[in-house]
């Protein structure tokens, strides 16, 4: 029975291998030149091949014991919990982030940031309603003032158009 980390590792390596294969395919359509006068496609082709080979090696090779201090699932405290509590929470955050990005230029900065941070605080983190409203309002307003008024960053106005 493979550990969940091992499954993740294999899936990630397969994904990298597939991406490398498509990279090689794309490179072959580009001008190559020669080894001593390389054109646009040669270096990507070589890198794609090396990535593919190494991805295969990682899939075949046995799982290394995670070194102390090595990267991996070690969020939070000192201990490194191997399994996640639930997958949906990161997924929920990604969905909200995707919605924020989608709405950013359409609905405008203030509206998106206000609703985005409110959803995260109220629906994902289950903070009290009043607290969520106050924090998201201060956050959206504060960031708008900081970026737009102090740093002159051009932020999208959206539906509110200012």
């Amino acid at each position: 029975m493979m550990s969940r980390t091992r499954v993740y590792s294999t899936l990630v390596s397969v994904a990298i291998g597939c991406a490398a294969a498509s990279f090689i395919y794309g490179s072959l359509k580009m001008p190559m030149g020669t080894v001593l006068t390389p054109a646009a496609g040669l270096v990507p082709l070589l890198l794609g091949c090396a990535t593919l080979i190494l991805a295969i090696v990682v899939i075949i090779a046995p799982e290394p014991a995670p070194a102390d201090g090595a990267p991996g699932p070690k969020p939070g405290g000192e201990e490194q919990p191997d399994e996640p509590r639930t997958l949906p929470r990161p997924l929920l955050i990604m969905i909200v982030l995707g919605l924020i990005i989608f709405a950013f230029e359409r609905a405008g900065f203030l509206l998106t940031m206000l609703s985005g941070s409110f959803i995260l605080l109220r629906l994902v983190e289950r903070r009290p309603l009043a607290q969520s409203l106050i924090i998201s309002s201060v956050l959206a307003g504060g960031l708008y003032f900081l970026f737009s008024k102090l740093l002159y960053v051009n932020l999208p106005g959206g539906w509110l158009e200012f």
């Binding site: 390596s13 054109a39 995670p66 090595a70 969020p75 405290g77 950013f104 940031m113």
Partner: protein, 502 residues
Amino acid sequence: MTDILNDVILGLSVALSPNVLIYAVLGCIVGTLVGVLPGLGPLAGISLLLPLSFGLAPTTAIVLLAGIYYGAMYGGSTTSILMRIPGETASVVTCLDGYEMARKGRAGPALAIAAIGSFVAGTISVFVLMLVAPRVARFALKFGPAEYVGLLSLGLLSLSQLSSGSRIRALLMSLVGLTLGMIGVDPLSGYARFTFGIHELADGLGIVPLAVGGFGISEILLSAGAKSPAAIKAPRLRDLLPSVREIKSSVGACLRGTFIGFAIGLIPGSAHILSSFVSYAVERRVSKHPEEFGKGAVQGVAGPESANNAAACSAFVPMLALGLPAGAIPAVMLAAMMTHGVSPGPKLIQDHAQLYWGFVASMYVGNIVLLILNLPLVGLFVRVLRIPYSILYPLILVMCVVGVYSVNSSTADLWIMFAAAGAGYFLRRANYDVAPVVLGFVLGPLFEMSLRQALTLSSGSLSIFIQRPIAATMLAAAFVLILINFWSSFRRVAPLRAGTKR
């Protein structure tokens, strides 16, 4: 020597005059603010605030912009240490050990060491700059594509030092980074590579969305998915300053970082971003406890932060001495000087002595201002960690969105950040490290371009790498380093194999 002393006194009299000093302080404050915000780096900060300097006297304008630059370099480490969000490329390395220190309740010492290291590096660099600027700048001119290939080969070798996990996985991640760096229009032929007709991809993926997504947001996702919620230890008041042991072990790292940073910063182009990576690799190699790196080694913060600041300082040498900008930021500063009717170059010291020495002295004054400003702020920044994570992470997330958007005002960057966050999450869950991806991504295009330029210059002959002494020396050094790596790997593996046979 007397001449230099007189010049320094002239510079200090300019830099310490109230109307210049106030703009130096203002620049440092604004720069720190810009640096602390994820996404907005020194270049974006200077570019955004450049119009503000138009109404000022030339010296004051340059001092203001330089203050923003240093402030941003200082501030960039803050989010790296506290939230694992690199403000700019040079701060990526600080994430590795700085954030681990923060998780252990040592955020205060990490921030203090970063500030002190930056101050030491900045101060030493200004002195060297005053003494040897014109001579050193001429050396920088000898750097062509072949020399770049040599330097970048050394940079690529430092990739393996960035991960504390499996070497083969680190190598795979480096290759992923190098490959991602190929996306965009080929700078030599203009051929669009892997852009799929999306014109936003013509300039490549962009380092800021990649680093913010891959490091910062993936960390949020990991914490959100953890059994026990993220529990970064909030430091006690007495833990805010570094211990004597931490200071002692940082001294050597600071000095080595300063030397590495100053030397690399002189090189024209984008070489300065290498300084913190090379410094980290060197610190890990010279350390008696390399296994502590990636787990909160104070040298992993002190060295790269010093290198980063020294490079920021020495990047001005070719600009001041020869009128040649060594990178994007000095180029913007050069533009600012020319807007004010000042032409940088060999005659700058003679024609505008007050401006030149005022600017140099303001660097020193700026470093002191930043130290005074940043050390008391350590306590304030560390208080951020006392905010419950369920409130803090939505705040970080929206700041990342605004920060990344503000770089190019493009939602394409936000989608890249989104993809990098998802990829970073899965990579880290699968025990892969993201740091080599970022460095590979930075070095890949530079290496390819330099290699192809060098081969074009030599009409396809490899002799260019042997005939040019600097390139040959660096390539030989890279070769020796590869041999040392192989030898140390062999020495580790050989006893294990012998034991298995027995």
